[in-house]
Symmetry: C2
Subunit: 241 residues, 2 copies
């Protein structure tokens, strides 16, 4: 079975120009030509074309695809497995996006903070998370969030929003982490950690993220110094118990 460019274009859903372009880029040369110069594509070419499309959907640039089409290329079935994995990662990402948008919407419905501001903050946060966390971490966080009811989330949010500035103030005035006023804050913090347990690996990654992102520190006011101060205060409370 042989195809002309037009036929292959229809079959694959691409345009004729795109097939020409792939040929120019050295990706897909038709197996033959007719006397009049018409391109003739065979089944073998169709195999190569699909390989190209698979790599393209994986986000590779055309010039990076060319070297992957040689004789020592991985078999299509291996590619298929990778494709499925990739698609599932993207699916998870999409699910997280939707969850985020819905949280924003809930926030708006209850008439909270300025919408655009909040949305932008969340979007840049989610970009940060994508940079610092693995897919599994993100899935874990997503699962945690989904497991909490909205009222609990509100409580968590409000407590953090109250405790962080209070701790900052204490740190700024040079307070001792063991003094009673700070200890009271630390007990509330500890209560949060008990209500919303986070596994250690995740917590470490979160800390690494704050340490490595000065912009995030400026936005939230959570600096390494503050983290150390809170740690000291919480540990003091723990030891006292």
């Amino acid at each position: 079975m042989e195809y002309t460019v037009g036929e292959l274009a229809k079959l694959s859903g691409l345009t004729v120009r795109t097939l020409h372009h792939y040929e120019q880029q050295g990706l897909l040369h038709p197996s033959g030509r007719t006397e009049a110069g018409y391109r003739q594509y065979t089944e073998r070419d169709v195999v190569v074309l699909h390989r190209i499309l698979a790599y393209r959907q994986m986000g590779l640039a055309l010039k990076d695809i060319a070297p992957l089409l040689g004789p020592d290329a991985p078999p299509l079935s291996a590619l298929l497995g990778k494709q499925i994995e990739l698609a599932e990662v993207q699916l998870a990402r999409q699910q997280r996006l939707i969850a985020m948008l819905k949280r924003v919407q809930a926030r708006v419905d209850e008439g909270g903070e300025g919408l655009a501001d909040h949305l932008l903050k969340l979007m840049s946060m989610s970009r940060l998370y994508e940079r610092w966390m693995s897919e599994e971490d993100l899935a874990k966080m997503q699962a945690m969030q989904a497991g909490l009811d909205p009222q609990m989330i509100r409580h968590l949010r409000d407590e953090v929003a109250a405790l962080v500035p209070a701790m900052q103030a204490a740190l700024a005035r040079g307070a001792d982490p063991r003094e009673p006023e700070v200890a009271a804050l630390a007990r509330r913090w500890l209560a949060l950690e008990t209500m919303f347990p986070v596994d250690d690996a995740l917590r470490d990654k979160g800390r690494a993220m704050f340490a490595g992102e000065p912009g995030l520190q400026r936005e939230t006011g959570i600096t390494p110094a503050l983290i150390q101060f809170i740690d000291a205060a919480v540990n003091a409370v723990r030891e006292a118990a």
Copy 2:
């Protein structure tokens, strides 16, 4: 609160150049400039930026976004609702893609037809479906497929693969749709329709698709004439019962 380009870039995850570009395109002019000519963005600008990003994620070209930023633009909260809807449509699409890839993989594992060929066929089919069916139709089909066990699907596939050429042959030799040999085929067809009921609206759309896509007719051999012939044969069997 005011931002420089660099600050806004970090906040939004865009590049400085991109913000410059949006300004060139008339999308986002900073509310002010310092004496030295530095751009000054305000919270109002942040709102506009988010609106731009939302529209961009919806797939609009920059020049089409400009007119949507005027004073009579829909409120951000409405946009948010549309964003969620859009994201859910994309989610469903992604789920269908994964289901398709997994079906191909199952096919490969059991050592069926040539993989590339099959995959390419499926991909162009799914493109056709996207053109002719609504999101709800696709979701319905997806649900139907998911509800069947693999053995049933194989049976359906094999029967169709056997019946279509047999009906074609009968039509080609000018057979009467009521003659016994054709009636035997029609009974098997009817059995399939009973085992795998399809609602009428979906069936009609499928027919419209075959009628409107000559390429699909050539690929499958299912022409309007063949459909008419099968209908006649099936109806004859129905009336006889």
